[in-house]
Structure formats: C-alpha cells, structure tokens
Symmetry: C2
C-alpha cells in the first residue's frame, strides 16, 4: 500500500483544485474582502516564494502577530507549504512574554497586523532573531514604524511566484506550526504541531460525529488564529472547500452577530466569554440566525445556563467541546448518543454540559493515586491523553518532564468519566479545593452559580483556612440589570439544595469583572492572591 | 508531536469502550442474532487468542470464505488485531481461482461458512498451506465434511481468552487485510491493505462530505465482506459505534427490503445489480423505507434512470461512488457542491450520475497520450490515483509493473473531468470502442439505454468490423413486462437524438441475461467472444 506523507500543503491544493470559486470572507481594518480559494492559493504561493527570497529556509520559524483574516490564512499554508514552521504569537501576551517567545522560537521573520504594530515596536529592541518585519496592511503606503527592516505584505506578494510548488519531500512528522501556551508561573511553553498531526486532526474535524465541517458550511472561527490554530478550523475548512468568514481585528459581539446574519454563517466556534457577550446583545436586539447549524464552545467549560439559552430560547444547537493547546486541540465533543435523544430535557442538558466523548483517533485514561478511576461519574482523576495530535514535549523546555510521562500527556485537568464514557472536567489539578482532606470542585460551584439568572460570571477559588486548610470563596459578577439587587445570602440559598453543606462557599465576593488570561479564561491565580487573607482568623 | 501507529485493533477498542451497548444485527442460516459491541469485542479477542493457539503468528494469512455476518466481522478485527493478515476469499470465484489464491496468499487457516463448505471441499486437495479449517456454524455439532483438520468456530471461542490484548507494537504500514481482484485474463491479483491505509480510509468514510458514517446510523453493507472489505464499512462503522446490520447468506432483494424496514436501516451500500433487484420488488410491494438517509451505489456505474427512480419516486437519496479493489475502495463520491443545489433537475441528475468528486486524502490525474487531459468534461484519459489507501503493487505478481507506474496506480478506467473537477467514467481502457480512429464510450450508450423504461440491463461491446475496425453492439435485457413488446428499431430511435450518428450501435441483441463477473459486473469479455463474428461481412 502506498505511504504518501500527510502534508499541510495538500489541504490547500484540494481547495484550489476542486473549490476554486468558493470564498474566504475576510474582515480587515478597511472592511470586508472576498477572495476565492483560487486567489488564496495564488497569494499563498506568492507568499511562500517571497519568504524564500527573504531567506526563510526549511525548518525556520515564521512568526505571525495577527487577527483572523485572509493574510493570516495565507501564512497558515505558506510557511508549512515551504517546509518552514508557522509560529502564531498570542497578541494578548505581556511584552515580556511576547519577546520571550519570539526569541525562544527564533522567529526569523514576523508578519504583523497594522493595528498591532505598537505592541511589537515596544519590544523590538529585545528581539534577537527577527530579520524582517512584514506589515499586513491594506494601504499602499507602509505605516510609519520604528521597526526595521520592514516590508509590505502586498508588495512582497507582488515579487512572489504564484506558481510556487509546495515542497512534498517532507517527513509528515516534521513540524508545521507552533504555538505557546501560558503557564501558571514562568514563561509560556511552546507546543509544536506536526504535518501528520494537523492532517489527522482535520480528518477528525470533518467527521459527522464531531464538528462535521463540510463544503456546505459557512464557517466562522471566532477563536483566534493565534490560539491553537483557531482550533484547526482553517485547515479543515480549507481542505473541505468550506466558505470561511474571518472576523478580523477588534470585533464586538454585535459585529459577530452582523456577520452571522449577513454571511449566513452555519457554524462558528469560540470561548464561553464570546458567547456570553453574544447572548447579551441578543437579549436586546433581534437577529436572523436561522442559518446556524451549530455553535461550538470550548476553551473553558460552558455554563449549563448558556447551553440551555442558546438551544431553547434561540433554537441554535450549541456543542460543548474540550481540548487544549497541547492537543491541537480537539479531544472531546459533547453530542448525545443515538439512544439518548429521548431522555428528558434535564438529563439531556446534563449530558450536553459535560465535555463529552473522546473523538476517534485519540486515547485517554483518567488516573488518580490508585490507578484508573471507575467510570461512575464520581471518582475524580487527572485526564491523560495520547494520540497523533497530542504534543509529546514543550519545545526546548525543562517543564516537558512535568506533563509528558510514559508516553502520555498529563493534562492537569481533573475529570470524572460516567458510565457512557463521557468526560466531565471538575477542575484544574491546581484549582481543586482541598478542604479537610476532601476535594471540592470549583467548577461545579461556578456552573451552579452561573445558572442563576442574576449571575453574569462566577469564579470559585481556594483560600487558605486555618482549620480546613482551604475553603472555597465565590467571586461573582452580576448582570447589569441585577447589580446591587441580589445579596450573597440569596445566592447561597440558591446553591444550598444543590451541594453538600461543606461544599458551599464560605463567602461570596461581588466584583465588577473577573480578571482573565490572555485567552479569556478566568485568572484564578490573581483571585487567589487577592483573597488570600480573606478567611484569616475565621474558624 | 506524538506519533502513535494507526492500527485496526484500536477501532474495535473504541466501540468496546464507548459503545458497548450498541448492536450488530447479524443474519445467519439459523436466523437473526443480536450482539453488542461488548460481546463482539470479547468474541473477537477470544478468536485472536484461539488462532494464536492454533499456531497463527504475526504476518500469517487467515483466510475467510464467508458471507456478511458477525463472525466474519470478528475475523476482520481478530486477524489484524493479532498482527496477522486477513485474506477475504471471494466465494464466487471458480474452483481453480479459489485454490490459486488460497495457495498464493499461503493462507494458514481458513474460516468457512457452513453452506459454503462444498465449494472448499471441492478444491481441498489442491490447497497447499491450510493447516486448519474452521467452520462458522450455528450448530453445536460440526457438519459432516471431508475437510481435515476441522474446528468449530464457537468451540474455538470457548478455548480463547476474552481479555486478549491486541498487539500495539506493529508498524502502521504492516499489512492488515488482503483481497484478490479478478483479472481480465489469468489468475486474480492480490491487493494488500495496510493498517494505516484502512484507518485513514475509515476517517474518510466518516466525513460529512463523503459517506458521513455516524454513530446515529444503522448501516447495512450489502456489498460482500469478501469484496474490498465491504467497502471499508465494517471498520468505519465499528469505530464510530454505528449499529450494523449484516444480511448474511444468500439474501434476496426482498430480504434486504425486509431488513431495511424492520431494523430501520439508515444507510446501505451495494452494486447497481443489487439496487436494480430492489427496485423490481419495490414496484410490486410497499415498504416503509423512511429510515433511509442514503443508499450508496458503487462497483460499476449506476444508470441515471435508477438514480432518478430512487430519488424521485421513492424519495431516497442515492449516492453514486467510485473505487476499486486496489483503492480500499473509496475514491470519489457524487454529491452536489453547495452552489449546485439550485440547478434544474436535469442538470442535477447529470452531475449525480457522474462518479463524483475525489474524496479528501487521495490524489488523481487523468492522462492521455499528450499528458493530463483538460477539465472540460470531454477529453478522455486514463484515471491515475495516488494516496495512502491506494495499493502500490499486486502481491507477488509480475503484473504489478503494468498498473503501478511512477508512484501512481493506473486504474485502467477511462474518464473525463469536468470544470468542477467531477470525474465521469466513460469506459475501461480495454472496453473503449475504437471506430474509424475515434473513441466511442460503451458506458454512455449503456446508460442511455438503461434510461429507457423497457430496459432492465444493457451492455455495449466492441465487435470487429472490416471497415471501421470496431463497431458497438448493444446487448439488452428487457424488463419482464416488456418482453417481446419492444423492437430494436424503437430503441435505436430512442438513442438517435442523444448521440452522434456514428456512435449508434450497429445492432441491438436481446438477451435473457447478461453474463456477469463474480462481483456482479457485466462480463464484457464473454459478450465480445459471443459476438465476435456478428458483423462479419458487414460494411
């Protein structure tokens, strides 16, 4: 049987061959651009050949610092297509982390969005390897900048060759993309994605039982392209000839809704905070969202109330999924099994709010001190993963040994598995609350709080306690209309019937906003720091 | 990134883990059996360990001579799961070819259906390598047989270990399955399928844009498991936890329809002759077929009229697909692109009756003497294929060099490609009719004839002609109700407006039946032999 390498370049080639007329709808600073896959293909080949002329060679890293738009998509294929490695830099990192990762990855060139220039200018003197800055601007003239040497993306394309051939003599295990993930402490950790892993992951995204990405879709990845390959959607969608909508810079929930309505988006993917924002706008304004066949929510747990609102009130199938930077990311998708569809609404919601079933192509085990946990939906353990789109190291980083043990990725996520094999995340290993020797899941309490009609966001953290070692404190942001109208006693009363008494938070602290990480997750470390003396002297 | 081998055993393991309650519905001589994937898993492990005790080692070939049923499914996973190679012997081959391929593959054991025993008994003295015959019977007592040594399948399972672990230290490129394909002349040619190829092919079968096999499906492969892995369905369906219905021995169209209705089959796959038979029954009897979401037709071209009847009269989506033994088999599936759905009925039918679009993961080119043909839907050339589920040789066979050239499989199928990249097969290279230096597609004329309401089957072959070298003759089987009521002149009149004058057959010969190959394709060689003097002396 033939063994032809699984390579990223072939995904775009299929779109060029069979779907040359299908479009990528891209929003940039100057408005909406519509490019066909034929055009995207030619521009990508031009970019690859121009990068080669700039001195980029096989194995070199090509950094991007950009929103979701067509130029970023072109870079997604040009760098791996020429045998180089695309490094998507998270634009929300601190200046220190930005310069750390650009240097650590040894990015040779950096493609930068015009509006993000100041963030790179601020760190330019720290960058040790970048030989060329390429500005992705719509303008004919390059904007004024302190970076040097600078090139205009479109000028570079002009000098490129639209018939450039993607290299095919790569090993499918060669790196194609890299992305850094934030660490609790210390510098971000680099994850490398191989051609093989990304192509297999693209297959998995097209399966009927996972995301079912199809040529018929009009797909909008809201999840940033600088964050785990926008969950792999740009690769799968291009391969299958899917129309892509790319929301560009500084989008708002309203803008996303406008795009969904205008472009008849069928499929979109984002983190819970994005969907919370969308829900808030929907409460005030009517949109025709009938084109949507599914919204995917991942990155952190989707509150049950959110799933329910999208599905019941707005009639939009809302799929919960799970993954992480180290896993490309798709690991589980929460869909009902065929024999579960007739369960009552509450049971269905309960299943759908879990992280879901392992997708084909990945292996898992959930381990506690005593080995693998029982599949009873109760016993908690650390989720471990193995498979072709799971990382096996942090790039040149001693922390590799903490997470990659005996051929498995130890995710740091604490989970239960129920009788059906469905995973439910109950916490991060480091966020679990250990009170009097027993474990309390901060996530369970958060989800319960967020199901209250007055609660916009809730985060529960462990706070040192003299008697119990740790006790939970809930940090709550109320919806605007409920501000100062709901008391902590009311919320505790709301929780009481749902939990054992010793699970109830010792206090509820109202906040205007919960601090978040660069990818929109609750920054629990900051909350813990802020509240560390909160229970001082309490018994 | 991790590189974990893509192995067949893992597909069944997923069903055992996540879909232990889902069922395989299997018809055998004694009736319908219902086994869960948990049971199938245990029985498969028992079989693997029993085969090991019988002396089967890694790399050894395990032959099957069987219909589609649960025991055959167990063998599909047991042999590759233990590192051996499953060899599915085509039960419809001649005795000479059966003994040839069992010997050529060096089958060490042979698993045989009870009702097929006579076919093996007849050739037993010719078999050089078989050390054990295993009878797949429902009975407690083994049937009387001249084979020796013989074992009862179920007795063997009793002595097997249900906790047997599938081997995981295989190379994914190792052979998992083999299957012989009939040659025009000479012995059948062996094709080997690797674990890698079969797993990737299974991914491809689950894609929304191809077969979309899903856990929600109730899938019935009518295509035999001794013929190109039943088109890969047993692997994909098991992996995704799909309910499988296996129609067992000597089924009739009526039995298939009963199964579809009773088991609420959603998806089924078979060759055109099967669907023709089904249509004939449907014309006489009412069935509730509302569970069906798609029928797949492959193996040879589906006549337009058949597609139309299923879709318009019976409201059943009918998908045309293409592949061959050398291609695992899925290569193309005929689905409309999203922007084609509003075309008029005739145009849609025209597209749907072509072989379709290349599925993700395979590469193609269509070459004539002058290089690749234009994508104009007119220029004809030989279809060549490359990819991870395309064979790269015939097993120990000098004919390898005829079909595998420069890394491509030369299929021997003549095709056109239209502007949309859709393939249409116009003939086998050897069946093309060359009349006065111009090519005539026998398939086009056949399809046109089969669109006539009176025609049940039609086959067009080249017959030697003194002036034009070759001329087409049409062999036609009329539907029962039209027998002797339609003349050749009427049929020629029907064809006249559809073709250039010189494409029209020189004669139409009515037959009771068209001779077929062991897999149900028209045996054109036999027709050509029969008709070779038909135009003698004609000018």
């Amino acid at each position: 049987m033939m063994n032809t390498p699984l390579l990223i370049g072939a995904l775009l080639e299929r779109a060029e061959q069979f779907f040359p007329k299908k479009e990528v709808v891209s929003r940039t600073l100057s408005g909406i651009h519509r490019l066909t896959y034929r055009e995207i293909g030619k521009r990508t080949r031009r970019l690859a050949s121009a990068l080669e002329k700039l001195g980029v060679q096989r194995g070199d890293r090509v950094g991007t610092f950009a929103w979701n738009h067509h130029r970023h998509l072109e870079a997604y294929f040009a760098a791996p297509g020429m045998g180089a490695v695309l490094h998507t830099v998270n634009i929300r990192l601190s200046p220190e982390h930005i310069s750390y990762i650009v240097n650590h990855a040894e990015d040779k060139v950096l493609l930068i969005d015009e509006d993000l220039l100041p963030l790179i200018e601020r760190v330019k003197d720290e960058l040790t390897n970048v030989e060329a800055f390429i500005i992705m601007t719509d303008q004919e003239e390059l904007p004024a900048t302190t970076l040097s040497p600078v090139f205009s993306y479109e000028d570079l394309l002009e000098m490129g060759n639209e018939n450039y051939s993607f290299v095919t003599d790569l090993d499918e295990n060669d790196p194609a993309i890299m992305c850094y993930t934030s660490a609790t402490t210390g510098n971000p950790k680099g994850v490398i994605y191989s051609h093989r892993g990304l192509v297999l992951h693209s297959f998995a995204l097209g399966l009927s039982d996972t995301m079912a990405i199809s040529e018929k879709d009009i797909a909008m990845a809201i999840v940033p392209m600088f964050h785990v390959n926008a969950w792999g959607l740009p690769f799968a969608a291009t391969w299958f000839g899917t129309t892509q909508v790319m929301p560009g810079p500084q989008f708002t929930p309203k803008l996303l809704l406008d795009l969904i309505e205008q472009e008849k988006v069928t499929f979109s993917a984002g983190v819970p905070t994005v969907w919370l924002g969308v829900l808030q706008v929907l409460e005030q304004q009517k949109y025709d969202l009938s084109s949507l066949r599914a919204l995917i929510c991942g990155g952190s747990a989707a509150p049950k109330g959110m799933i329910k609102t999208f599905e019941k009130k707005y009639n939009i199938p809302f799929l919960h999924a799970y993954g992480m930077t180290e896993t490309t990311p798709m690991v589980t998708v929460s869909r009902l099994k065929s024999y579960q569809v007739d369960l009552d609404e509450e049971n269905i919601l309960e299943i759908r709010s879990k992280q879901g079933l392992l997708v084909p192509g990945v292996e898992m085990k959930v381990i506690s001190g005593e080995g693998e946990v029982a599949w009873d939906g109760k016993e908690m353990g650390e989720l471990c993963l193995r498979g072709n789109w799971i990382a096996d190291e942090y790039y040149k980083d001693a922390r590799t040994s903490e997470a990659f043990i005996d051929g498995w990725l130890h995710t740091g996520d604490v989970a239960t598995i129920d009788e059906e094999g469905v995973i439910k995340l109950v916490d991060r290993t480091k966020d679990l609350i250990k009170s009097g020797g027993e474990w309390i899941s901060s996530v369970d309490i958060e989800n319960a709080l967020m199901a209250h009609e007055a609660v916009f966001e809730a985060s529960v953290v462990a706070v040192p306690h003299e008697k119990w070692q740790e006790r939970p404190i809930a940090c709550v942001v109320l919806k605007d209309t409920y501000r100062a109208k709901v008391t902590k006693e009311e919320l505790l009363e709301f929780l009481r019937p749902q939990f054992a008494k010793w699970w109830l938070p010792d206090d509820i602290v109202f906040m205007k906003e919960i601090p978040k990480t660069s990818v929109g997750k609750f920054l629990k470390r900051a909350l813990r720091d802020q509240l560390q003396n909160h229970l001082l002297g309490k018994l």
